[in-house]
């Protein structure tokens, strides 16, 4: 049996209880919602994109400790990133939690990726992987849909 504390590390519990960037953006350029019908979790991701950069990012919603912490940590690492860098970070994170090929990242992005490392404990809990990826899928949908406010579902 895996130690639960590898899943619920202190940083996860902290971000789950006190999520960062947990509010709506006043003037977002992009937004999208994520919904996990299995557990009822909902997240809305707001982006303010200037040129090729994510000037600001935030989220709102209700969810479990994992999905709240995942959204919170996501907003922290995405702020200031170029869109290409953001996609690369998501690619790495997705591979880490689903067991895919992690690929190569630049040294600066490796540092950001390490900040997401505590979330990768979910790969031992197949039922919980979607909790960790939900905010990222909402982020991706926001990039694609602009202000349409698309909703992505995990199922």
């Amino acid at each position: 049996m895996m130690d639960l504390r590898e899943l619920y590390q202190d940083i996860i519990l902290d971000h789950g209880r006190h999520p960062r960037n947990f509010h709506a953006l006043e003037n977002p350029t992009h937004l999208a919602r994520g919904h996990n019908p299995l557990c009822g979790d909902r997240v809305t991701v707001y982006l303010s994109i200037a040129g090729d950069r994510i000037a600001d990012v935030s989220f709102e919603g209700r969810g479990c400790a994992i999905s709240t912490a995942a959204a919170s940590l996501m907003t922290e690492v995405l702020k200031g990133k170029s869109l290409a860098e953001a996609q690369a970070l998501f690619g790495r994170f997705h591979a880490q939690v689903t067991g895919g090929d992690p690929g190569e990242l630049s040294p600066e992005l490796e540092e950001d990726s390490e900040r997401l490392e505590p979330l990768t404990g979910v790969k031992a809990y197949p039922a919980r992987v979607k909790c960790a990826t939900l905010p990222w899928h909402a982020f991706e949908a926001a990039l694609k849909g602009g202000l349409q406010g698309d909703t992505v579902k995990t199922e």
Binding site: M1, M2, L4, L7, Y8, L13, G16, L38, C39, G40, D41, R62, G63, C64, A65, I66, Y125, A127, R128, C131
Partner: protein, 417 residues
């Protein structure tokens, strides 16, 4: 009779012996430390069902109602014997009233899609309750949209039981169908379905009862209940998955057109038209789940060997113990169940999301269900995204409740420090 030998769990003189019963469930050989509290989703299977189905495939299997050869006749006998067991189990008047389906979901869809247009016209009303599983809600919603009828929801009262007076007030001459659960799959509330049937019939409405959570746990007599349709799933009653039962009053079934069509349900087919068989075969197009029906027969044998009065007594005592223990944990809030609760406890732990509770419980080898339990209207009414649900079977005892409580304490320790 072939099939697996069945022990005699005669409990008329003694309390139900959980330790003895657990030995009949091979899952606990494979997982000795498992605390299985998810029988409300699906029950584990006793040896007599598992071995009985295997033996049926080994020595008695062929298609039914088709062959002239001895093996097919034998298989048909076994299939029809299972129908008779179900009839006796529900105390139905006639075995032609027993239709084998995939499960309660299919049974309700059958009644709504085949019988619905016959019973219901534009401007009529269907009443469901806030306690319904989606499977006793969405088929009626679809039907109402199709024929221009109105779907009406009878509310719960502040204690979490059905508000019977409110349901009574909603009944009127336009009400043509009342579809209610016997026992709520979320909070375990036992509904006064006999009284509901009387009230509905007084207004000329038909009554369908979802018996998924009641059939495995208490005596059910459809004639005494006075309803028109009663449905349940085999897999929640210790039987195989993929088999279920629709019971309907014969005159009503005979007034309903076929639902699915194909082999096995016709008398004559020509280019000009087709004549259909009488119930139940009219509603059993194609090769049925033969081994599922036979397995369900073994599950009924298993339940009857223990005795449903004994199961009810055992599970009510266990439910009482569970309510008592859970309500003593700070921050744990039980979903109400009105006046009488049976075998199902839904709760939330303050400050901890149900999914996180579920994962911590899983790490303690306590299997529960978390989420909305296919009852989103009720979750909305309760103002929660979901709950944690523990539900009991004949293999559970007080020690399982104690393990549940210890695991909840561990979750609180982790998240609420």
């Amino acid at each position: 009779m072939s099939g697996a030998p069945l022990r005699n769990f005669d409990t008329r003189t003694a309390a139900l012996d959980v330790k003895l019963l657990r030995r009949e469930f091979p899952v606990f050989d494979a997982h000795p430390d498992l605390v299985f509290l998810d029988s409300g989703a699906s029950a584990q299977k006793p040896r007599s069902v598992i071995d009985g189905v295997a033996e049926f495939y080994r020595s008695e299997y062929a298609n039914v109602h088709r062959g002239v050869y001895a093996l097919s006749a034998r298989s048909t006998d076994r299939f029809e014997e299972a129908r008779e067991k179900v009839r006796a189990f529900l105390n139905a008047k006639d075995e032609r009233e027993i239709v084998f389906v995939r499960g309660a979901t299919e049974a309700i869809n059958l009644v709504a899609q085949s019988g619905g247009p016959a019973f219901l016209q534009e401007g009529d009303e269907v009443i469901v309750t806030e306690l319904e599983h989606h499977s006793n809600f969405v088929p009626w919603q679809m039907l109402c949209q199709r024929v221009g009828a109105k779907l009406v929801m009878a509310p719960i009262d502040p204690t979490g039981g059905l508000d019977l007076a409110a349901l009574d007030a909603l009944l009127n001459a336009r009400t043509k169908m009342v579809a209610v659960t016997h026992v709520s799959n979320v909070g375990g509330a036992l509904l006064p379905v006999e009284r509901i049937a009387q009230l509905a019939h007084a207004k000329g409405a038909k009554v369908l009862i979802d018996g998924c959570q009641s059939v495995p746990r208490m005596p059910v007599d459809v004639q005494a209940l006075g309803c028109d349709f009663y449905v349940f799933s085999g897999h929640k009653a210790y039987g195989p998955s993929g088999i279920g039962v629709l019971w309907g009053r014969y005159d009503l079934l005979a007034s309903m057109p076929p639902w699915q069509t194909g082999g096995g349900m016709i008398t004559t087919v020509t280019l000009a038209g087709t004549e259909f068989q009488d119930p139940p075969h009219r509603f059993e197009a194609g090769t049925p789940d033969i081994s599922g029906a036979v397995g369900l027969g073994y599950a009924i044998d298993f339940i009857e060997a223990i005795g449903r009065d004994a199961i009810l007594e055992h599970e009510e005592a266990l439910t009482g113990y569970g309510v008592d223990r859970l309500s003593r944990i700070p921050g744990v809030e039980l979903v109400g169940a009105g006046q009488r609760r049976l075998s199902i406890l839904s709760f939330n732990v303050d400050g901890v999301h149900p999914h996180d509770v579920g994962t911590v419980l899983d790490q303690h080898n306590v299997a529960v269900r978390v989420g909305h339990h296919c009852a989103q209207p009720l979750m909305d009414r309760l103002g929660v995204a979901g709950t944690v649900r523990a539900s009991f079977g004949v293999y559970n005892d007080d020690a399982d409740v104690d393990r549940l409580v210890a695991a909840i304490e561990a979750a609180r320790e982790m998240f609420c420090r």
